[in-house]
Structures are given as structure tokens and as C-alpha cells.
Symmetry: C2
Subunit: 328 residues, 2 copies
């Protein structure tokens, strides 16, 4: 009832010249008028118009987005890894042993490829050395300092300026149609919660990511939550639908990813009954961003791209479908 | 902007005779006009009035509720345990070995005390035998059959009729003031998600509980999520603030519990900066419900009650503060 009133007010006050009406006239201005854009708009209209046979009730309108490579860039390495690298450099004086230990030695020599080649084991060591053994508040402050000052080695931009303008528009468009937008990312929940709410308009409780174990304890009578050097859950691959089911408790209507790490999430979403839309962003634009898929370890995309056609996922071609990449 | 418009419309259309205005005139009719009710109403007014020094922005208005013993009854045993007991009885023919194995043998002899005495180990065996090795959909259907037909051994009511009317009113009152209401319970997330949305008006994604591990896999090309016989997380005691931090990502403004299992959650909530309210329901009404605290293994309440005064938690006395227990 409340919702319906709100809706009619919007129509009343929102004449053709209002921002709301303008936004609806061309809801995705950074998207070229190609098939992908048409399919997205058609899907949203069909699932949100009261009289549509494809209508989805508001409570069921869940849209999940991968983060790295889907909402913001991820080259030459996941940005959270670059945060860890910067932390290692800052902490190196306290850890003389790092000069000879992988992956720390590679970092101190400025050899990012060496870090990537140290594999999962190396990355875990790096994460534990830089993300654990502190309170959640100390960690958040550290991320905040970094995200507001550090600059990308290639573009010189703040990392939060390397989010994708077309995706910001899509998030807003979906929310105007009462879709609840979630992030479901392999990145860390607590890393994302520092900056995601302001940058994407997605609140803390709609950010799902990988987690390390934490411990609740009292220190001088004051309760605190401490981050432990132990993995709790890796929110990647099959972990994505598992976590969606565990935390959201319903199957999404829309899922958007860009790599094989998103394959299971796209598959799980699309296999639901009723209207479902799964989308895959293909990085094809070496000029404005990066062009990569099956030969990249970061954002590796191979199986998902092969399956896309058969599974009826929409493949968004960055070069062809977007007229703008980063916000101006 | 949208919210403000909605609000003014409510005032416009909501003259003194409307349901909304009546609800606000006496928002908690099943609560006696005692101190607890006054403190609750005062806190909600002070945290939601725009011009109040205690004002809390809508995005921060998180209220968390324990379930067993806080929103519905929990005697003579947690209702989810009674579900497991009923499942064991139904499956007994397929498991002749249960006749001599604890805790199954106790169940088959109708000895609930024996089940409770089998301790955590017994309960875990019971949970694994009745809650795992099936898809999430099979489990949900099983819970649905039970919750819509099974009756409480003492009252003869459906279990969903043994929710507390004063708490239903409080949930609604908080939501009208744009508090987001969550459940944070030791009970199973998937058990609760079957019936909680309809009964309490709390959506699936705001239900946090204990979980067992699950596995995503393809069966004949169709993805499914299978429940494994392995504990993932026990959402009790220190696990409650840990899970609140992990899943909601912010500290609640209001927390409501009834046992020592809620102590850490009440403490974590109240220790936040700005206005916070922690409440403890004390089961004091042997006539209309049950009277129990430190001598009960179910809903054991001892340390939290001792701490309540010092920590400035509001203790709700069921017998004194509620004029009605179950919905009529």
C-alpha cells in the first residue's frame, strides 16, 4: 500500500522534465544501443511491470554482482592484492625475515609477477600477514587510508575512480525498479565494506565476500572483534551459490560476473524457475581498459565464455557495448 | 527525498481514525504500561525523530532478535529439536540400528529428557540424521509439512501459534519506524526461513542462524545445493556478534534476547557509540507460559540476568509486562 502511494506520487511530481523521468527516458546512457542494452532493459521492464506475465514481486527482486572485473577493474592484479603489497612495503622494516621469504621477497623487489606466481599459498601468506591479527576496526581504518590515497600504477587514478560507469548506471536503474543489489565477490567482505557503500550505493549488509575467522572477546571490559589468521570462507566458484543460499536465502533473479569464478553463480541463477537473467562482461577493450580472457590468471575467463551461448547468458562486450568505461 | 514524501502522504491520508494513526496512538497494546514499555517507546521515538539529538539515520537502524524464547516459546525443548524427534520417528523403520543407539533409542521410547541428557553430541547426531544428506529444497519441504501440521505436546497449538503477540507488535512498531528487523538465532537458518517470513514479516535475507555445510553440484546437468552432515557455524554465544559482524557488517542499535546464549550479542550491541538498547526477556509466567531461568538447560539464563543491571539492559518480565502472550 505504502509502495503504491509512493509510486503514484513519483508519477505526479515527475513530469517529463524531472530527473526521474529523464533517467527513465535513457536509463543507461553509457551503454551503446546494442542488443545487450535492449535485452537488459526489456528484462527489467518485463519483471517489474505489474501487468506483465513475467512480473516478479518486489521481495524476490535480488540482483547479484561480482566485484573485481565486473564493477571495477582488476588488472594488473586484484586491487585488494595491491593493497596487501603496499602494506607489506609499509611493514617491511618490522620484518627483516621477509627479505628472503616468498612472496614477501618478490614484493620488496617490486616483482608483482613473482607474487602472482607464488600461487594460492603465496597469496594466503600475504593476506594473513596484512589482513589478520588486528581488530576489525584497525583493519577498516587501514583500508580507508589506502583507498583514499593510493593510486593505480597504470592509470594514476584512485582505485575508486576505476569503477565502471555503465555498471553504476545499471545498479541505479535496478534499484529504481526495486531490485535489491548485492555484491558477491571473491574479495574480502571487510575490505569492500569500507568503500563500497559510498561508491556503489550498496549497504554493508548487501556485501558478501570472502572472510577470515574472527573472535569476539573482551579487552579491559570492552568487547572487540579480532581478525584471526585463518580462512573462514572463500566466496568464489561454487562458494558463490553456496554463500548466496546461506546468506541471502533465495535464488537471485539477475547475476552479473566476468570470469570462470562466476560460472556457478550464473548457472545457479539462470536455472531458477521463472524469468532469470545471467550476464557476463567480456573485457575486450585494450585501448580504454584491458583485453583479456583465457590467457589471464586474473579474471580468467574460458569455460564460462564457452558455456554462455548454450546457457543463454548475455555476453556484454566492453568495447562494443559501452561508450564510456570510467566515470568522467 | 522519496522517504520524506512518503512520510508526508502518510500524515495527509492518515487522519486520526486511520489504522496507521491508531497503531501509533497505542503501538504496543499487549504490553502493560510499565517501565519497560515506556523505555522502549522513548528509545524508538528519540532515535527516529529528525530533530532529536539521539537521531539514528535509517541505514543504521538495525534491530536483532533471538528467536527461541524471545520471539516464540522454547519449552519443553527447542521446537527445532522436536522437529528432529518427529523426523526420527518417521524414519525409524529405515534405521533398525537406532533402537539401541543414543539419542535415537531415547526418542523411540518417548524419552525427551534422555535426548536432552545426551548433550551436544547427541543433538549433533540427531541433527545430522534429520537435517543433512538431502537437497536444500527437500529439507525445506520437510520443514514445511511439519510446521503446518505438527502440534505442541503441551498446548496442542501449531508451533507458529506459540509466537509472542507482544513481540509481533514490537517488530511491526520498529519496522514502521524504519528499523530493519533481523533474527540472530542458534536455530537453523534454513529451518527458520520456511515459516519466519510469513509469521514475523522478516524476509529470508534477514534471518541469521546456525548452518551446516552445503555443496553446490550438478545432477544430470541441473544445479542443486546439498546439505552435508557437517557443522558450518553455530550461531550462539560469541558466535552471535561474530555472525552479526560477518553478515550484517554493522553493529545493531537494538538487540533482544532471553538467555545466556544472547549475552555476547547484547553486550556487543550496547557497547557501540551513540544510542543503543539491549533487552532481555525473563520467563516469569508459569501460568500463561513457563517460568524458568538458571535451572533450565533450555534457554538457560543466569549470567546475563546478573549482568543486566550493570550493563543497563532492559529486563522484560513476562508476567508483569505483558497482558497477552500468544496471538488470539
Amino acid at each position: 500500500m505504502l509502495r503504491m502511494m509512493t509510486f503514484s506520487i513519483l508519477i505526479l511530481v515527475g513530469g517529463m522534465g524531472s530527473p526521474a523521468a529523464l533517467a527513465e527516458a535513457n536509463p543507461l546512457p553509457s551503454w551503446n544501443p546494442t542488443l545487450a542494452k535492449q535485452q537488459i532493459i526489456q528484462f527489467v521492464q518485463q519483471t517489474t511491470a505489474q501487468d506483465s506475465p513475467q512480473f516478479v514481486p518486489v521481495a524476490e527482486r535480488i540482483a547479484v554482482f561480482d566485484n573485481d572485473g565486473t564493477l571495477w577493474a582488476e588488472q594488473p592484479a586484484y586491487f585488494q592484492l595491491l593493497y596487501a603489497v603496499d602494506q607489506v612495503k609499509a611493514l617491511a622494516e618490522l620484518h627483516p625475515e621477509w627479505k628472503t621469504q616468498a612472496p614477501f621477497a618478490s614484493i620488496l623487489k617490486g616483482d608483482i609477477e613473482g607474487v602472482k606466481q607464488s600461487g594460492m599459498e603465496g597469496v594466503m601468506k600475504l593476506v594473513m600477514a596484512t589482513h589478520a591479527n588486528m581488530t576489525t576496526e584497525q583493519f577498516s581504518r587501514s583500508v580507508e587510508r589506502w583507498i583514499t590515497t593510493a593510486r593505480h600504477p597504470g592509470t594514476g587514478k584512485l582505485y575508486t575512480q576505476m569503477v565502471y560507469q555503465p555498471m553504476l548506471e545499471l545498479l541505479n536503474y535496478l534499484r529504481r525498479h526495486e531490485y535489491k543489489t548485492y555484491i558477491v565477490s571473491g574479495g574480502g567482505s571487510e575490505f569492500m565494506r569500507v568503500w563500497v557503500p559510498q561508491v556503489y550505493g550498496i549497504p554493508a549488509e548487501q556485501i558478501i565476500g570472502s572472510t577470515i575467522k574472527t573472535e569476539y572477546k573482551l579487552r579491559e571490559g570492552e568487547p572487540e572483534i579480532v581478525r584471526l589468521p585463518e580462512i573462514d570462507f572463500i566466496d568464489d566458484k561454487e562458494g558463490k551459490p553456496v554463500n548466496i543460499h546461506k546468506i541471502i536465502g533465495r535464488r537471485p533473479v539477475i547475476a552479473f560476473g566476468n570470469s570462470d569464478g562466476d560460472l556457478a553463480m550464473l548457472q545457479w541463477t539462470k536455472a531458477g524457475t521463472g524469468p532469470r537473467m545471467s550476464l557476463l562482461l567480456h573485457h575486450t577493450d585494450a585501448e580504454r581498459e584491458w583485453a583479456y580472457d583465457k590467457d589471464s590468471s586474473i579474471g580468467h575467463l574460458e569455460k564460462a565464455l564457452q558455456l554462455a551461448d548454450k546457457e543463454q547468458w548475455i555476453v556484454v562486450d566492453m568495447k562494443q557495448d559501452w561508450n564510456q568505461v570510467y566515470p568522467r
